[in-house]
């Protein structure tokens, strides 16, 4: 089922064309909207929310026309803006309760939902303190909570990982994945990094300068840049030699070993080789994880 669809959507501002004949579609689950800064991601979200009239073309969200049924759409949708949007002198609980009421929830229901939602996004005791003292990670969680508090059918998350450290990014991405699967709320998440969206999205739309670059299920994106990172306690050299001997593309980055997973071959082979090598050499394995791909590769790819 199509959660949102646009048809020849164009938005021209006096000095710039933000969206140019954009025709995209997204179904349930997590959809990534990728583009460089200024590609038109935020403009698209504003049009989908019915806050900005398109110059031409049509946009539908949950089968409602964005240009004429903005109010109904905003009742069913949550929005997490890219920029800071939190007053510093109220607590997260008060703020999220207030925002739930603004979405039409009665006060008692708003309180319950706010407590539930803040727990789900991982804010605990600190939610009673004024937001002014929060870290960036906590602020992002409050912003996410206010977008989810009224239990929308769809959320727009504009650059939710902005300003987060690597661990914060991982936690936020895991949370987005949970929203799309466990919570059953469809997600449209924007980012300028395809690599991080790859891990949580079912479908990715890439736009550049307001035009569609590509739109496809995540599996269709090339895996050529996929790599695994290996960290062992001692004996990095023997491991490098061993894997090199097996014909794997190995690179050492400090204490980390990066092994390229070729796209054409059976990917399991490389993983097996690493596992066996570590096992046979009797090394203490500290870390074994997937490396994120690089967005540059996708932008370099010819448009299908």
């Amino acid at each position: 089922m199509a959660i949102l669809a646009t048809e020849g959507l164009t938005k021209r501002f006096p000095r710039v064309t933000a969206l140019d004949e954009l025709t995209v579609m997204a179904g349930t689950g997590v959809t990534g909207l990728v583009g460089a800064n200024g590609a038109g991601k935020s403009t698209l979200i504003k049009i989908l929310l019915g806050l900005l009239p398109p110059t031409s073309g049509r946009a539908r969200v949950l089968d409602l026309d964005a240009a004429t049924h903005g109010l109904e759409i905003r009742r069913l949708v949550g929005y997490m803006p890219e920029h800071d949007c939190l007053p510093p002198d109220v607590s997260a609980t008060e703020f999220v309760v207030h925002m739930a009421q603004m979405s039409g929830l009665p006060r008692t229901a708003a309180r319950e939902r706010a407590a539930d939602t803040l727990r789900h996004v991982g804010l605990h005791e600190e939610r009673y303190r004024p937001i002014g003292g929060y870290s960036t990670g906590m602020r992002q969680r409050v912003k996410l909570a206010q977008a989810l508090v009224h239990d929308p059918r769809l959320v727009f998350l504009d650059e939710p990982t902005n300003g987060l450290d690597p661990q914060g990014r991982d936690e936020m991405l895991a949370l987005i994945r949970r929203i799309g699967t466990e919570f059953g709320i469809s997600v449209l998440v924007t980012s300028h990094l395809l690599g991080e969206l790859e891990r949580v999205c079912d479908h990715v739309i890439v736009i550049d300068a307001g035009r569609l670059l590509r739109s496809s299920a995540i599996g269709d994106f090339t895996q050529a840049s996929q790599a695994i990172a290996v960290e062992v306690e001692d004996g990095l050299e023997p491991l490098v030699e061993r894997l090199g001997g097996l014909g794997e593309a190995v690179a050492v980055q400090g204490r980390l070993l990066t092994v390229q997973v070729p796209a054409d071959a059976d990917p399991g082979r490389t993983y097996d080789a690493v596992r066996d090598a570590v096992c046979d050499l009797g090394l203490n394995l500290v870390r074994l994880e997937q490396r994120r791909g690089h967005i540059e590769d996708v932008f370099k790819e010819p448009v299908a």
Binding site: R74, P81, C85, L86, P87, D89, E94, M99, Q101
Partner: protein, 289 residues
């Protein structure tokens, strides 16, 4: 036989909300109530309560003194219709101190997009903020008047109570509340900085009252008495007092009287309309950015 566990902790996971979803009106009402509480510092820090409660207490003082005068000296207290004009400085300070609180933080911390991404429109938002401030200003005038009236009834002075005067003053309080709220929000929403908002509202009051006094004095000294009375209307407090005089036939509280006719009753709605139009323009721009 195995004993059943008596208590189990379940991770119930995410639950969907199946309850009521109210409409725009309820959201706007919730915003208005929340804003009204905030104006008086309720639900905010202790520091935020000092100013509004101090000013509200000062507003009550003339009523208390008047009741004492009626009870002990058997004389008339402060006349009801003159209450707001007498206390205009306090009302102006309250307006200046509290109207920026209502609008400036939402602009400064960019909370507005969160409101407008919900079923709340620009008109709902502005309406709620104006209503909150108007109710606050009304309470600030009406509570002392009502206290004074209750006092007058209890003291039971000889002669009939000034019921019609009290009602006229309450009607005037409504006009004061709406006019002052519109001016306060219009000026405060021009800047996202709260301090600047406070300064601009208080500057507006000082400017209008000074200009009105200077013109009045100059025009009177050259013998242009009618023109001098018109100059009085530049001060918003005297403008509403003139409405009271015209509509309810009360005595003018400026000691000089106002231009005859219903002019003040025309000017007030025009000023309110200009202020509200200004606010709408301001927020239409803010909403689409």
């Amino acid at each position: 036989m195995t004993s059943e566990p008596t208590a189990v902790i379940h991770d119930i996971g995410y639950r969907h909300y199946e309850g009521a979803r109210l409409g725009r009106g309820s959201a706007a009402l919730a915003l208005a109530v929340n804003s009204l509480r905030g104006v008086f510092g309720l639900g905010r820090t202790a520091r935020a309560k000092i100013m509004p409660f101090l000013l509200a207490t000062i507003m009550l003082l003339p009523a208390v003194v008047s009741i004492a005068v009626m009870a002990l000296l058997k004389q008339d207290g402060l006349p009801y219709p003159a209450y707001a004009v007498t206390m205009q400085a306090v009302l102006a300070i309250f307006l200046a101190a509290q109207s920026p609180y209502l609008v400036a933080p939402d602009l400064r911390f960019r909370v507005l997009p969160l409101y407008f991404s919900r079923p709340v429109t620009v008109v709902d938002y502005i309406g709620a903020k104006l209503a909150a401030l108007a109710v606050a200003m009304f309470l600030l005038i009406a509570v002392p008047l009502t206290l004074l009236f209750a006092g007058e009834l209890l003291v039971d002075r000889p002669g009939p109570p000034h019921t019609s005067q009290y009602l006229a003053a309450m009607g005037g309080a409504v006009v004061y509340a709406v006019l002052l709220a519109a001016i306060g929000i219009a000026l405060a929403s021009l800047t996202p900085r709260r301090g600047l908002g406070v300064a601009s509202v208080i500057a507006f009051y000082l400017f209008t009252s000074a200009v009105s006094a200077v013109f009045f004095g100059v025009l009177l000294s050259i013998g242009r008495e009618t023109a001098a009375k018109w100059a009085m209307l530049i001060n918003p407090f005297f403008l509403v007092d003139a409405v009271q005089v015209a509509l309810f036939g009360t005595d003018p509280s400026n000691g000089e009287g106002y231009p005859p006719g219903l002019w003040a009753c025309l000017i007030v709605p025009v000023v309110i309309a200009v202020a509200v139009a200004g606010i709408l323009l301001r927020y239409r721009k803010a909403a689409s950015s």
